[in-house]
Chain length 265, copies 4
Amino acid sequence: MSAVGRALPETIEEGNLVLLYQDPKRKWITTVSKQRFHTHKGFVELETIAGKKFGESVMTSMGQPLAIFKPRTVDIVESFDRPTQILYPKDIGYALYQLGTKSGDKVLEVGTGSGAMTASLASAVQPEGHVYTYENRPEFLEAAQANIEKAGLSSVVTFHNSDPSEGFQEANVEAVIVDLGDPWKMVEASRRALVGGGMLAGFTPTTNQLEKLAESLRSRGFLIIEAVEVLLRQLKTDAGKLRPESRMVGHTAYVTIARKIQQGN
Amino acid sequence: MSAVGRALPETIEEGNLVLLYQDPKRKWITTVSKQRFHTHKGFVELETIAGKKFGESVMTSMGQPLAIFKPRTVDIVESFDRPTQILYPKDIGYALYQLGTKSGDKVLEVGTGSGAMTASLASAVQPEGHVYTYENRPEFLEAAQANIEKAGLSSVVTFHNSDPSEGFQEANVEAVIVDLGDPWKMVEASRRALVGGGMLAGFTPTTNQLEKLAESLRSRGFLIIEAVEVLLRQLKTDAGKLRPESRMVGHTAYVTIARKIQQGN
Amino acid sequence: MSAVGRALPETIEEGNLVLLYQDPKRKWITTVSKQRFHTHKGFVELETIAGKKFGESVMTSMGQPLAIFKPRTVDIVESFDRPTQILYPKDIGYALYQLGTKSGDKVLEVGTGSGAMTASLASAVQPEGHVYTYENRPEFLEAAQANIEKAGLSSVVTFHNSDPSEGFQEANVEAVIVDLGDPWKMVEASRRALVGGGMLAGFTPTTNQLEKLAESLRSRGFLIIEAVEVLLRQLKTDAGKLRPESRMVGHTAYVTIARKIQQGN
Amino acid sequence: MSAVGRALPETIEEGNLVLLYQDPKRKWITTVSKQRFHTHKGFVELETIAGKKFGESVMTSMGQPLAIFKPRTVDIVESFDRPTQILYPKDIGYALYQLGTKSGDKVLEVGTGSGAMTASLASAVQPEGHVYTYENRPEFLEAAQANIEKAGLSSVVTFHNSDPSEGFQEANVEAVIVDLGDPWKMVEASRRALVGGGMLAGFTPTTNQLEKLAESLRSRGFLIIEAVEVLLRQLKTDAGKLRPESRMVGHTAYVTIARKIQQGN
């Protein structure tokens, strides 16, 4: 068997971001360093992780094994400080695929919030693409910047501390993502910033917001590709006892995907 | 306003793949050429599209405007020839985000089918990454190759005409995607092909398949991150008449996301 | 074993309403008579059913067995002539249980439509209770009367051919069921017709209608007990291939259950 | 306006069961008596309720108004002591409507549990029908008996403290309701107890139980009418902020509705 993939699996080094995983409810993102990391089942001297490979385990002082993983974007986002409600992975994943966002794209975000979508967009457009994100509440922007820094994605993100109802500084972007309470106010500015045929995604918790957003999009040169809600049911897969989980998230936000029709611009 | 995005919006040229869009049910992928393109509302001389910009429209001989868009991966996949049932966008988008697949990744697919997931993976890993895909039914492989060629993604995809129950030719890949009727038979080979901590996604229509896959994963060195079903509700956004659509897709497949735990290998 | 239930199972007689059942898609309600009944797999001389017991089968002229069942209300309703869209069993069943409608109740319905809810209410309140139903479109009322007659429930239903926006003729009813396009216009009249603490159920397809109905209920002396949508997933139970059906009904109507608060009246 | 409904709204008397309602989370079932009833917002002298009418309010010692309602079956069931997990109203309501259970029916229940379904069946068949219920765990039976007593339905319920795998004492019942961990073991006994064409409802939390139950029903003379799951989404109806609730019940049980085919018996 020849290793067509990477020549060799990576060895973990000091400074690497790692996910320590005990179970779905107990998992942590941290950096390999000379620190001691505490869990409720004992501690780990983080430097002992250096030299191991991803997928291996480390034992806590109380004998609890923790799997060591390379964090995915979704893991890192889950560990973000959250001064605001963040978008759910189910909605982010859906929107990214519908937007068609890919490596090399230039995309614009309005409503940085805690940076969950920002990080996801940055991961999708790297290494050559870029994310321009706007947030007018300085305390959120600060938290988002720290989160993006932690995710190692700062080089592909530009933060703007402003409310761009007057217009964005960028033009000809492939996509605009709007996650604000009044997304309809950003439709005209989004239209001007988008390249012809460019995509817009809007997230709206209430049906009233969805209605206003759809109305604004239709009247300002967008085709609505779809307005959906994504429901996620988790299953318990115990052998002989397969069943959906007893509780689920009932609603997060409606996701609207629209596409700019060129009309001069 | 400076154009920080692309310097200039692209002008459509002969040879470009375009999406001609009338409405959600009537849209077509074609290539700009000297051909005449027929719709039920008249035809378009495709060469008249050259020189236009994406987002602009072209008029058919019967006066029906068609918007011209740069096709997203999801648009191209929707236009694929399908000798087999294909995965749904809702499931592909979910899996890609959970796998964390990104530019530069090497990923492996078992069960190419019509190439819907193949194209989506290829789009996510390009330009530096690669997709290795296995399919043992030659007629499906042929259709998939034509589809991937149409999508312009052939350079990042390697096709294998074999059933890899004995093992894959690749190693240290970041992710394995399994879309076969008996995915549990691929778990051991997948484990060996994956880098430590690598991700696996499996798609299973029935609860019985899900149960067997989960059992196999647990017994062969995987952590099950989650087993879910993604339900998508589309909404009609007519002003004053907002409501979910009357019909919806009730079920496609359960999506299982698992992660390899290193155990020597 | 002593037969505590009924002394003897009923023998089918001429004049009885029967359900002839081939499979979930092919089933018919008819009356045992001297008629010949045609199916796509041969005919049945209906008088040959007399003397059989429910649950037994009859063979068509082409050898297709049909099970003979005593029709439930839901079977009869499914066979109704439908000049209008009718409520779905999932919504009717939910509302009846939430309303607490039971034998002996007097209930009021606005918007008879094809009589699906009327029949369900009549079945629930019989033999001592009564349903008063209002419909201002004569052609619907006529169809509904024929449907209720077929269901054998005419003795517990009174039909009113009028739009009761001015008020109902009845008072002190236990429940009012509103199934009209503008249910908020019936809230005040409903309040006056209801006994203190009486229940109201409203069915609204759009979120805009739901919002107006809820607003009207709150401002006119009702407590909203709940506003819900009922989603029904059917499963295929083939052994070894258990799975939800591929298609499902995505939306019918929101069901609002409210309760009158006494304020003088 | 003539009072066609009841001659007069009822006046509440000592001994009546009442629902005291503050809001959806704070509501209590109690009996009008000389007792003092305590809430976290002050107390009520219950005898002051006598002489009022349903739908009116009573004020607590701290000035909190409580609406006084005549309890529906669903309210009483919600107040039951529950040594066991009980069926959800969404599932009970669905099953009752599908079973076609109505006044005068004789029905059989296996797995009394806390009596939630028992009470709902009793309410549906009263005053002339009857419910025969089996429970082999004495502590559950005792709780169920007290609950049914509280609901005022004891006269239409017969309790059996036994596991009827050998057979039920009743015959020719219109319906059998099975709510046990291994419902397939009750299929043969249920078939024998049912009248020809009689209905069976089974509740199963896992897909494995559903599969076994369906298999058993098919092999022992039943037609499966349907196997479903009922999903209930609650909505917040605040004006201008309409949206589904953030959390929902993800899964309770699959409901199977089957019908006995006569084969001699």
